[in-house]
Symmetry: C2
Subunit: 710 residues, 2 copies
């Protein structure tokens, strides 16, 4: 039984030859079932398993059909009553529907001789990456990783994998994907801003780029603001990378996006691929607004995170801002799973080959591991600065190189400015350093004799000849020696942006000792916490970020104590930049906090509210961003920024006074609402305490504004 939306003819077309031969030769009874549409119809959304189970029992006849249906319904009641009667009803409808929804397919005799239309896929890109994709990614994706010989990994023995492999997966797992209506779109880029998988992206195109685009491209003028009258605009969608979460639909202010069956949208793949590979980035369209940030290439794409995941939306945004000079130390947890599965790297590079350097050590030492990354490059850069100062002092150093060196020194703590200064400095070093042959020619020249006398020039020539004989490539004068030493470490010249990523289980609990220790050191590192208020990856255990009344593993009767104030703990140091953000509630505040944190010359901690599949939000993760907004509006989550660099008013409360609707917010998520069914009285008490604690917290934040006013 194959679950598909195909009729018999389409099945004939899509089914691969090997399967056809196997079915025909083994006389296998074949059925199809369209559980996908059926699930939507009965209210199960994307969950097809109950329908398939019911169909299986009817077909397999391992017990009388009526008994099977009764047992399945009883099991569904037992499993889901805690989540509400409506969920139980949906499951019962799915069981009834599944029992009759299959279609018998008569297998044509011709299938026994079906022929393979062997199509070796053509992979384009960096050769090392293509090799890794062919040798490892493809077999692993086919669940055939066990067949790989040890020798397949010989190029990766130190654990380093190529970036960007996820783009080769093209899993095509979404049933429906966004269709963009260019006529309704106001080009706000909200859809791209929230997309967890970077599969919907705006592009600004020149006339020429627009003309060369595939036919299916929908290209319009830039309607307003930057680039108006200069560029064309399109919103490209990758149907084969999209997870179908629909978050983009939810945030579109003009209903310019609708979800359509993936197959109908497959012609958009070419458009997306063209835009990504052929359309140049337009720096003049890029800035730190929600809209402008989305014209930057995401350096995290097509990860394996759940559909609608808020964590990847935050992480993707950060890579758009600093990905080309970013180091990431990642805690164990969801973010290490979607961030670094072996051979399927979703972190990728820009056209210069620059992208996030990513690593994961242990659950409990991630902050320290990230601090080590920082300290290592700080020590190397301090030594490079020392050499640069000496280089400037050398009389032989040419003025252009001196200028470039000084500019690099002047900007060495400023990430953005140092990026350009480093490029210029490296170019100046490379063009000013003399090769050993140039040095020999100079020593022989009249100029050398004029400057250093006959004897001096002779000595110089002797020394240069010896160097050449010893295999040295560069001139042996002090300036050239310094320049060569600096160039040897040129990859460390530019200021890096150090990020330490992890979830609340890591930051609030298991790795908290390290988080605290690293913040205390007053070094320039940035910590981003994906706060799902629960251990998501390990199966939903309560963390100290979980809140009163929340049901989780180890808190089956609702958590007793309130959420820990990690932000306030960090603020107690006085020299730590601290922010709480919720991108769905205030996307601009999120960018502001991330930019301020990165620019602050000291430790930073940003805690991002991240609704999660584990929260069981009513209607599903399509409402992820909307749920953040609700959380902030009712005061469940507070947004603020504590900036030690702000001489006046270090603490800014970005959340408005809470509106009503606190209990409604809790009831919208089964992580809370289930308690009302399991322990109704206790639920009432805990939820009241939860709300009271939130009110108290907001009052406290107001007092902090007052306290940090001057």
């Amino acid at each position: 039984m194959i679950n598909c939306q195909w009729d018999k003819k389409e099945l004939e077309h899509h089914l691969d030859a090997a399967s056809k031969r196997y079915i025909a030769k083994n006389n296998i009874q074949l059925y199809t079932i369209n559980a996908i549409d059926l699930a939507i119809k009965v209210g199960m959304g994307k969950r097809t398993n109950t329908i398939l189970q019911s169909a299986f029992f009817t077909l397999a006849k391992v017990m009388p059909e009526a008994d099977a249906i009764k047992y399945m319904k009883d099991a569904a009641t037992a499993s889901y009553l805690k989540k509400g009667q409506d969920v139980v009803d949906c499951n019962h409808r799915a069981i009834d529907a599944g029992a009759t929804a299959f279609v018998k397919i008569d297998v044509p005799a011709s299938w026994a001789n079906a022929e393979d239309k062997a199509k070796e896929p053509k992979y384009e890109g960096k050769p090392e990456l293509v090799k890794m994709v062919k040798d490892i990614l493809v077999p692993v994706d086919k669940m055939d990783g066990d067949s790989l010989p040890v020798s397949a990994f010989k190029d990766y023995v130190d654990g380093q994998f190529e970036l960007g492999a996820a783009a080769y997966e093209k899993r095509g797992v979404a049933v429906t994907v966004p269709e963009w209506d260019e006529t309704k779109c106001i080009q706000c880029n909200n859809c791209a801003y929230v997309c967890p998988h970077a599969t919907i992206r705006p592009f600004a195109l020149t006339e020429t780029e627009a003309k060369k685009a595939p036919k299916a491209a929908k290209i319009v003028d830039v309607k307003a603001g930057k680039g108006k009258g200069v560029y064309k605009y399109t919103m490209a969608v990758s149907p084969l990378d999209c997870m179908g979460c629909g978050v983009c639909v939810g945030v579109c202010p003009t209903k310019a996006i609708t979800m359509k069956p993936q197959e109908e949208q497959l012609d958009q793949q070419k458009v997306f691929d063209y835009c990504v590979s052929k359309v140049a980035e337009k720096p003049d369209m890029q800035d730190l607004t929600v809209k402008g940030s989305q014209f930057k290439k995401p350096l995290l794409e097509f990860s394996g995170s759940c559909a609608g995941c808020a964590e990847t939306s935050y992480a993707r945004l950060i890579t758009q801002l600093f990905g080309d000079r970013m180091y990431i130390s990642n805690a164990t947890g969801c973010s290490s799973i979607w961030g670094g599965p072996g051979a399927t790297s979703p972190y990728c590079t820009n056209k210069d080959g620059h992208g996030p350097a990513w690593a994961n050590s242990l659950f409990e030492d991630n902050a320290e591991h990230g601090l080590g990354m920082y300290v290592a490059q700080k020590v190397i850069r301090e030594s490079l600065a020392e050499k640069t100062r000496k280089l400037i002092e050398q009389p032989q150093t040419r003025p252009a190189l001196k200028d470039a060196a000084q500019k690099w020194l002047d900007t060495m703590d400023d990430g953005e400015a140092n990026k350009e200064a480093t490029k210029a400095y490296v170019a100046a070093l490379e063009s000013n350093i003399s090769t050993i042959d140039e040095a020999i020619a100079f020593a022989k020249s009249a100029k050398a004799k004029e400057l250093f006398g006959e004897d001096g020039a002779k000595k110089m020539l002797d020394s240069d000849m010896k160097r050449k004989a010893a295999g040295e490539k560069y001139c042996g004068c002090s300036a050239c020696v310094l320049a060569a030493e600096i160039l040897k470490d040129k990859e460390y010249l530019s200021k890096k942006s150090i990020w330490i990523f992890g979830g609340d289980g890591w930051a609030y609990d298991i790795g908290f000792g390290g988080v605290d220790h690293v913040l205390a050191q007053n070094e320039d590192v940035n910590i981003f916490v994906f706060d799902t208020e629960v251990y998501s990856n390990t199966g939903g255990q309560a963390s100290k970020a979980s809140n009163i009344g929340q049901v989780a593993q180890f808190a089956a009767a609702g958590k007793e104590v309130k959420k820990k104030s990690l932000a306030e703990i960090a603020m107690s140091y006085g020299y730590v930049y601290v922010a709480q953000v919720a991108m769905g509630a205030n996307p601009a505040q999120t960018i502001k906090a991330i930019s301020e944190a990165e620019a602050y010359h000291g430790p930073s901690l940003i805690i991002g509210y991240a609704p999660c599949e584990m929260h069981s939000i009513k209607g599903g993760m399509i409402h992820c961003q909307e749920e953040m907004k609700k959380a902030v509006e009712c005061g469940y989550w507070n947004m603020f920024r504590f900036n030690p660099a702000n001489e006046t008013g270090k603490f800014t409360l970005d959340s408005k006074a809470p509106k009503d609707g606190y209990q409604e917010f809790l009831m919208n998520e089964a992580r809370y609402s289930r308690l009302t069914r399991e322990f109704p009285e206790r639920a009432g008490e805990l939820f009241a305490r939860n709300e009271a604690a939130a009110k108290e917290r907001y009052e406290h934040l107001l007092k902090l504004v007052e306290m940090y006013k001057d």
Copy 2:
């Protein structure tokens, strides 16, 4: 060469026969030297090593004397110049003095036949303890522990040692010990309050007790307040347990204590031993004042901590308040070394055999370990409460037992009240439970037939006979069964006082993740941090409690960042009792904080400022308590209490506004002042920052008072 204060005659008297024989038979050249008095004379205080070294080189003649003296002086200059020229000068004087201070002793021929006056010491006390002292403590104290066979430990295979062994050591290491002048004394008990080793203790005696006291006892009337006209008073000193720190001298307001050579005071040992073993505790003299607390028996005595140690003064005080119902989980560090050396337990028991149950796990899990102690007894007590409620419901339960049971239930969360209630409850259980023979007698009685009928009484009798045959000891009725079950766990009935002890290296750094996690759980545990602002036990590494400009291992050029605000971090939870104390600055505030913390039905954290040998305070640890006072007066350390149970004004700032003298305070401790010699410019800058941070902190505390006003 023997270092002693003895002349030839005294040496003849004191030296043991085995040594005499060995010296005489091996024709050993014998010298004495009184480095003790000499060290005091040249300004080295108790440090005799330099004098002895110098004497050794002069006597041994391994090199010309003048060379040896020059080398030693150069080495002293190199080692101590960082600590100041005065320290160097002292050492040079000691080297000069040591070179000639020895005295040649002509060994009498009679020594070859010296006879042992074998005196097997007589140990009194609990037999198990005496056995452990003889079998393990005595050989270990003689540095002969390696000679012990494995079988010596067979009674301690689970790691449990008897409490109170330290009292058998009588090490007699102090050169001078306090002499108490009963005429000058105003009986404030300050000396006992600060004593790190519990070797100076006030006693209130009845007439009879006073009369039976050894002759050397100095006994006067109670001069004022409680006990006046009722009791006699003495301040007993234990010369053989005293470490000679002199802290008691420093805190005496009337100069009633002077330090005298130990040997002169040896007659006081009997007085002390008499008071400890024969004088009854006087509960009517005990209360929560500085004075009243010292009439309670310390349950931590004669530990191996350094002379003048502030840690043991705090710990001793806590045992006086709650020691008879205390569990201690101890972090690794100084407090685990002085708290639990194998076989030399300084924690001890009162006359009922109750004393602190002490254990140490790992450096990094101490808080969790302590929480486990709490949770274990909580679970057992909840089960006991459940059984007690059932017991009350049984019709057979007699009224007196019901009353006692109810009183136990009513007080079960209140440590002090529950202590007496438990005693009464256990007595009631024991006297009300029927033995199986009593039950049989009752079943045979007319009363039984009257109450339960002929058949009922018969059934009862049959059942009781069966129980007896099966070896059961108690009556099988539901009330007696419950009572027997409760009695089985009677040691868990009374509410315990759970304490988690450790230093700043543990609480601020290595164990901080656990401290935070335990505080977050909102359970009734008490954490006391001995804050020496440095890893004392492992050799002086900087911790996050170290302050700006402090010189330590890993901070050789003075620590860069300010002290972490552990107290404020704990306050962020809102439901944690938090206090900072400094007993030398305000002894009453210290007792208040400790009592409030213990009474609070939730987690508590007390951070005690603990000057340490490592601070190199000018003049030595005799000034320990005085240094705390200075620290608080200049604003280096702040005292406060945050009590969540206080509905109005949770936060109380107990420190007054800082006076001048901040830099003088820093300069009084070589952990700071040495930086002025090593890095004078940096020292100035860091010390100014240290003072500025202290000012800012006090301002911040004032704001907290305001913030938590309602």
